[in-house]
């Protein structure tokens, strides 16, 4: 297991920033070589230099590492335009600069003995799961028995399906409106698949209702499950204590998403996740 990279602040150059689907962009930024040790599920925070509106930095998962002749030269993020910051981010061009802090937080655990995995993503939640799949392929984990469930409201929310298929992964798609794949929610095909399959672990990232449903299913099937959780953050470095979730009644303490997560073992988050 490689040792985790320590977080640091740097000025990153934008390599590209392109719209993949309406309202959804991928942005490539240069970063220090330390990101070679970033763990899938870890995130970064961004600030647009000199721009104080919106005020706070915004967190984004590392979507992929950008490599040149085998060396990490940058990171790619996948983001959805939802408000002030992401609107400004969408207008940034190659050659512009961003203030970058990372890599931050606890990522997914990858075990060498893993053979079969279920990846479950809701919309933009797919972002860290591609980095995770990349890392698993890199550690020679054969993903051909594994499966991906991608859910979204419409076909515009279904992202990265082709990346998973390029890893020989079976991809199941659901949309609320039926504009792509099966009509319905992502947990329906997951439950159907689990009736005759037993993965070593479920990795999930997406909106809270989806994570709750996935965690419930994992519990019902006694399966290990890791989820990446989002909260609003002020600092992203454990200083403000604004990102508290999931009070443990025994110890009377909260978890803090930016330092204890964003990836959590679903059973640790039981008060928060299980219905």
């Amino acid at each position: 297991m490689k040792s985790a990279a320590t977080k640091h602040q740097e000025i990153a150059d934008i390599i590209w920033n392109k719209e993949e689907k309406p309202g959804c962009f991928r942005i490539g930024l240069t970063c220090s070589k330390d990101y070679a040790n970033a763990i899938p599920g870890q995130f970064i925070t961004l600030h647009i230099p000199g721009n104080l509106s919106p005020l706070l930095r915004r967190p984004f998962s590392i979507h992929r590492l950008i490599k040149k002749s085998g060396r990490v030269i940058g990171i790619e993020l996948l983001y959805k335009v939802v408000g002030g910051f992401t609107e400004k981010l969408a207008r940034i061009n190659a050659g512009d600069q961003l203030d970058l802090i990372g890599p931050i937080g606890k990522g997914f655990t990858i075990s060498n003995t893993t053979r079969k995995v279920a990846f479950v993503a809701g919309g933009i939640g797919v972002a860290p799961l591609i980095f995770l799949a990349d890392a698993m392929v890199e550690t020679d984990i054969n993903l051909s028995d594994s499966i991906v469930f991608l859910g979204g409201r419409t076909s515009d929310d279904i992202l990265c399906a082709s990346v998973f298929t390029s890893f020989a992964l079976d991809v199941h798609t659901t949309t609320d409106d039926g504009s792509l794949g099966e009509k319905g929610i992502v947990t329906q095909p997951l439950e159907k698949w689990l009736a005759s399959n037993r993965p070593d672990i479920i990795y999930a990232c997406g909106p809270m209702p989806m994570l709750r449903a996935v965690a419930d299913i994992a519990k019902k099937n006694s399966l290990p499950c890791e989820v990446s959780i989002e909260t609003i953050m002020a600092c992203g470095i454990g200083a403000c204590l604004g990102c508290a979730v999931n009070k443990n009644k025994q110890t009377d303490t909260y978890q803090h998403v930016c330092i204890d997560g964003p990836v959590f073992d679903a059973s640790v988050m039981k008060n928060y996740l299980w219905s």
Binding site: T6, K7, H8, Q9, H47, L52, S53, P54, L55, L56, R57, D99, I101, T231, I232, M233, A234, C235, G236, I237, G238, A239, C240, L241, G242, C243, A244, V245, K247, D252, T253, Y254
Partner: protein, 305 residues
């Protein structure tokens, strides 16, 4: 270029420069390790500490608002003893004076905290946060009542010889009256302002955004209010005043010094740029160079009216 003097005295503690970190925005310091050189700071004020560990308020605890943010962290902290045993040793690697911010629900709790800190050599001073509710007085903040505020400081003063900085709440009608009251009760310095009580509402759900309903507003939005209060207090008290509120850059910090602050604390800016304190320090130095100011004392309280 001549050597500039940036040293300031804030009531019994000599700082190598006037730039400190504000309580609750700098964790226990270690969070910024690797991001900035803590040795360059004028002073470090750690997260508010209580006698016993406290888990704080339920989430959501924070929300961004125009030019600022609301927080209702609810003073989540590890407790004074865990701080002394587990957090202070890290801070002691640096030459920067460490101030412990304390809060209690009763006067006795404040006094108890002060006596536990008094014997700890590595703590340079105590910042007393009087903005919290006084349980015995029905939840009204100590800091909004002249007598209650003085009472806390008198009791803390009896328990410690360490310099006492009193942090004032802006949620009062007459900030000068409170300032004078704590000065006569034995405060060595006054820091202001704490956050301004505020709220945000989600109009779709018609619910308050913060679980605590109300929270404290900080950031650039409060700077003009803070500046006004610092100016009002600094001209009325003899002890040093430390300016806090929306300081984002060197220009902001210099305005507070001109208004009469002997030093400043940087809060929310640490979240946006962890290097904010260092950038502010360097900005003050270049302002002094540009304006041929050799001693920071020439700036402090130099407002021309």
């Amino acid at each position: 270029m001549t050597q500039k003097n940036l040293c300031v005295d804030i009531g019994g503690v000599e700082l190598k420069n006037p730039v400190m970190t504000a309580s609750g925005t700098f964790g226990y310091g270690q969070e910024f390790d690797g991001l900035i050189d803590l040795d360059r700071l004028g002073g470090i004020i750690v997260k508010g500490l209580s006698l016993l560990p406290s888990s704080g308020n339920p989430p959501p605890r924070i929300i961004e608002t125009p030019c600022g943010m609301l927080n209702a962290i609810g003073l989540e902290n590890v407790g004074i003893q865990a701080f002394i045993n587990e957090k202070l040793p890290f801070l002691n690697q640096f030459s920067t004076p460490v101030f412990v911010n304390i809060y209690g629900k009763t006067v006795e709790e404040y006094a108890d905290l002060a006596s536990q800190i008094d014997s700890v050599a590595d703590i340079a001073g105590i910042e007393v946060n009087i903005s919290c509710p006084n349980v015995k007085a029905g939840g009204v903040a100590f800091g909004v009542d002249r007598r209650a505020a003085a009472d806390v400081i008198t009791r803390v003063r009896r328990k410690t010889t360490k310099p006492i900085m009193v942090k004032l709440s802006p949620n009062v009608t007459d900030i000068v009256a409170i300032a004078k009251s704590v000065e006569s009760a034995g405060a060595d310095s006054i820091s202001l302002i704490n956050t301004i009580t505020a709220m945000a509402i989600d109009i779709e759900t018609r619910k308050p955004v913060l679980a605590n309903i109300t929270g404290g507003l900080s950031g650039p939005a409060i700077k003009p209010v803070a500046l006004r209060m610092v100016w009002q207090v600094a001209r009325e008290v003899k002890i040093p005043v430390i300016g806090i509120g929306g300081i984002m850059n060197a220009e902001d910090a210099i305005a507070f010094l001109i208004a009469g602050a002997s030093a400043v604390q940087v809060g929310t800016a640490n979240f946006i740029n962890p290097r904010a304190t260092i950038d502010i320090l360097e900005g003050i130095e270049s302002f002094m160079n540009k304006n041929k100011i050799d001693d920071i004392a020439e700036l402090i309280g130099s407002l021309k009216i």
